[in-house]
Each structure stands twice: as structure tokens, then as C-alpha cells.
């Protein structure tokens, strides 16, 4: 059976990191389609289908960086998880920070998962592909 294409919303301000993530997802067993926004405000606009994202598809998973301009990743997390329409969407934090405070805060705000960007491409790719497989293939989403 052909696996369904998983839709990611990548919230990442760093172009280089975004490039690495996208490259990492290439050639994965589970096909994916990634839309990218560059800051927290854009992320919420996209999720709420506000202009200019009125036609946006609802993502299956949100990949969320924490250090974002305008609105921090934690704030986006809070907004998503307190919105009854959006809270069912799994949010996977994807960040450079492994600080206790950041992890603590993320889980308090009901992050579904917390991933730390590795400092090695091979590892990075492995992580991203495993993540893709887990959420795209094994995880059963909430009923729509």
C-alpha cells in the first residue's frame, strides 16, 4: 500500500537549518510535503488560515523551532495547544537548545515531542527520517 504523504509545517527562521532539514527528509520511506514559515506570527496565521495563508492545508505535524523572531516557539506552542481547533495537531519541537528550562517549558505547554538538532549531518538525517517514519507511518492521528 502506498503510504500517505505526510504534511509538515516547518516553523524555522534559519535558512540553513531549514535546508538541512529538507535535505534530511529527502529519500525517506514516507513521502512528505513541507511548508515553511519564518516566524511565530506567520505560523499562527498559517494554522488559522489567515491571509496570506487562507488556502493553507492543515498540517499533520508542526515542526517547531524555539528561537523565532516576533513570537517565540513557546508562545506558538501555547497558542496552538490552547486552541480547541488546533490542539490535536502534534507539535514536535525541533531546536538547538537542550536546556532544562526550554524542555520543561515545552512539555508544560503540551509539546508532543522534543528533538534536539544534532551537530552532524548523518545523525541529523537519521533523526529526521525516523521522526518522519514515526509520525507519518506509525502514529495514528486524531480523527478529523
Amino acid at each position: 500500500m502506498k503510504p500517505k504523504t505526510i504534511r509538515f509545517l516547518l516553523v524555522e527562521d534559519d535558512d540553513d537549518h531549514a535546508a538541512i532539514i529538507l535535505r534530511g527528509l529527502k529519500g525517506s520511506r514516507v513521502p512528505s510535503l513541507t511548508n515553511r514559515v519564518r516566524d511565530g506570527l506567520e505560523a499562527l496565521s498559517y494554522l488559522r488560515r489567515k491571509e496570506p495563508f487562507a488556502d493553507a492545508d492543515r498540517p499533520d505535524v508542526v515542526l517547531l523551532d524555539l528561537k523565532l523572531p516576533k513570537l517565540s516557539g513557546h508562545e506558538v506552542l501555547r497558542a496552538v495547544k490552547s486552541d480547541p481547533d488546533l490542539r490535536a495537531i502534534p507539535v514536535v519541537v525541533l531546536t538547538t537548545s537542550n536546556a532544562d528550562a526550554d524542555r520543561d517549558q515545552a512539555y508544560r505547554l503540551h509539546a508532543n515531542s522534543y528533538l534536539v538538532k544534532p551537530m552532524d549531518f548523518v545523525q541529523f538525517r537519521q533523526m529526521v527520517q525516523d521522526m518522519n517514519l514515526y509520525w507519518g507511518h506509525w502514529n495514528q492521528a486524531a480523527p478529523s
Binding site: D14, D16, H17, I20, P69, T96, M119, D120, F121
Partner: protein
Amino acid sequence: MRKPLPAVFAVTAILQGGELLASEQAGGGSVNWLDATSSLAAGLAYALIAIVLAGLVLRRRELALRTLAWLLVACAVAAAAGRLVDAVLVWQPWYRLDSTLGAFEAIVAWSALLSLIVIAPWTRGMLGLSAGEQKSRRGTIEYQRVEEQFKLAFEASPNAAFLVDEAGKITLVNSQSQQLFGYNQMELVGQNIEILIPPRLQQMYREFRHRFLASPVALPRGEALDLCGLRKDGSEFPVEVGLNPVRTSRGLTVLVSVVDLSERRRSEDALRRANRTLLDRNREMEQFVYTVSHDLKSPLVTILGFVGMLREDVAEGRLQDIEDAIGRIAGAAQHMSDLINDLLELSRIGRARHTLLEIDMETLVRGITAGLRTQLNKAGLALQIQPEMPRVMADRARIAQVFENLITNAIKYGASAVQPRLEIGFEDREAEVRFYVKDNGRGIAPEFHDKIFGLFQRLETDQEGTGVGLAIVARVMEVHGGRVWVESASEQGATFWLAFPKLHNGVHS
């Protein structure tokens, strides 16, 4: 006539013999040499005794029984005179003189005897008594010396000291107390000590005093009362009061010592402030280390990520993206380098000693804008600098950095208007001199006005900036005793203000 006893016969015979001799003398004939010499000798002796005794009495002032002593001197004199006249009688018939002297001698002797009897019980241990009186005299001297020492100690005390009677009236003050409270001695003695306590605290003092008087024990330091003292001029100051009971024959006297705590309080406050500063700096440091290590991770992820991708691409012969990858790696590495330099700069601002000079701000600002001429032109910024800028006492290099940062920011974020403008001016106020860098760009929302001066806080996706620029500005202003803040709203431009405090003598600092 009765027949006299045989003993009487013998005595009479001797005496008679004497009489015979006397009558013989009167008529001339042999001189009674024994009589003459013995009288002379005795007389001389008595005279000398009188002199020595007199000398003793005069010299030894503490000698008891002076009256008796003088009477004995008189006896000796009388006896001396009598015996000397006796000697003369051998040759001359000075009988009348002799009798007179005899009478005198009798009177003096009886006076001495009476004097002796009057004080007889006392004289029993005469030698011992004299020592007792001497001990008592010595005791008095000792007491005087101790009192003298007390007075000196009381006077020399570094604390204000008062002797206060049971009713609370001041009986003695030392010079420190006069100095401390601003009164002189006469204004204090006789007053109730409560005049030195502010009215609102007098009740507390009274209660304290009652407790103390109920069981007067010297209070150990820790239980001294924390009060305020009230000076003559009405000013107050923190004091610590200690009470010590002094039992005298006149009842209970209280030694009140007052320690001025102003200096101590000042030191305590200074210490507390220093402590807080230390804690703040510590926390700042931790935050700094944390932030730095995190912000350095990001470029490293980029570098190592693209290195990995490069390796694969090269191995598989995909060479079209190599240039791009290398560019990103170099960029990230440069970014790390900039970050580290900026952080070092930031830490240096706090540590280094600054040379303060009087800076001509106009020259400085014009110099910087001249240096940024290319960027200004590229951004199309119309520049306006207010003339006749005041001079400021500051570290030239640092202030140059501040303006450079602000102007660069304005070029980056403030040039979005249709006709971008950059204004640099000043406001001369009473307590400080203010400078501003104003643009008409997209502005900064109020909720970010504090954040932007924090470390690594960036509003826009700013790949070039390190996020340290405004933190450096804030730090430099802090070190100069000034401050920086921003006035701005979304889409309404931004005005960054710098305030330098002024010195009293009119020189800006």
C-alpha cells in the same frame, strides 16, 4: 610633833643636805657642780626634744593627735626652760623666775595629761591607730584616685555617656555626648534624658527603662535598645543604647551609653547593596554563559550539517551545490566569529578602566556618518544632524561604538519608509544631556522595547547581526552612569535616546 619614820629621816637628811648646800651657795662658797651640769644637760635635752617633736608634727601632716603633740612640745619647752634656769640658780638667785617656770611647767603638764586621758582609749593601740588613720587616709587617697580615673574614663569614652538618676535626670555627661547631640554640658545636666529621644519613641524608651529599673542588671550588647537619637537641631540618627546600673550611697544611678549607629548603618547598607550587586552580576554571568553557548550552537549545526552534505555530494559527484554549501559554511563560521568578538567586546566594557575625556559630540557623530556614507546612500537615508551639540565627558571609543550601532540599526531597520529619514539630535536638560537617533522606518512594537536591549534578542530574521549590538549600547551607557531607551510604535519609526548625567559644576559626565 610626831616622831618621823626612819625612811623619812634618810630622805630628809638628803634633802636637808641639799638645802645646806643651797644656803651655802647663797652665801658664796663651793659651787654644786653636779646640780649645775645635770640641770644643764636635762634642760638641753628637753629643748632638743621640743625642737625635734615640733619638727615631726610640722613635717608629718598626717600625724594624728596634733593637739596632744603640740602640748607635749610645750611640756618639753617648759621642762627645758625650768632645768636651764635650775642650772643658772647654782650661781644666780633667780628664784622668782624658777617658780614661775615651775608653775608654767605644771600647767602644761596637766594639760597634756588631760588631753591624753580624753583620748586614752584611742591611744591604747597608738602605734596601730596611727597606721589605721593612715590606712584610712590612704583609703581616701585611693578613692580619690579611682574617682579621678573614672572621670577620665568617662570623659574619654568613644561613646556618648550619661549618668542618669532614678528619675531619669541627667547628672553627668561626657564631651562625646555633647558633641553627638549638639548640646553643651549646662543644657544637659538637670534635664530628663528623654529630651534626647524623638517624641514618638519616648514611650518605648520609658517602658524599657521601667523594665530595667525593675531588675537593674547591665544589659549585654545584644539586648541594648535600638532607638533614634534627637539632636538639638531636630535631626535624628540611629542609636544603640546600653544601660548599666551603678549603685551608690545615694541610690541607683544608671550609666547610659549611646552608640551612634549612622556609620554602621551606612556600612551595612553599602554591604547589602554590594551583595545584591554581586548576586545580580552572578546571575547575569550565568545567563550570559547560557546564552552564549546556545547561540553558538546554531552556526555549528549549520557548519557541520553542510559539511556532511558536502561530503556526500562530493562522494557522489554532485558538484552543482558545492559552491552554495561552502558559502553557507563560511557564512556560519563568520557569524560565530562576529558573535565571539561582540561578546568579548561586551565583557570588556564592564571590565576595562575608561579614560574619560571631554568629547565634541558633533565631530564624533559626523565622523561616524561619514564612515557609513555608502550604506546611508544605499538605503537612501536623508541625514540630518542637529548643530552645536554639547560636549560630554565620556570614553570616546565606546561612545563612537554606541552611535555606530544605533545608526547601523537605523540603516537596517529604519529605512523602510518611502522617504527614509535619519535624524540625530540632542536635548539639553537640567540633570542630564540627551541625544537621539531617530528614523521613520517600521518601528518597534511596545512589547519589545525592553527585550531588544537584551542579549541575542533579535526582532527580525537578522542573519548578519549578532544580537549583541543594543546590549553593547546599554552596557556602555550603564558604565557612563547614563541610560538608553527607545520610543517607538509599529510603523511609526523609532527614536533611540541616550542620556548622560551632568555633574554639579556644570561639566557633563
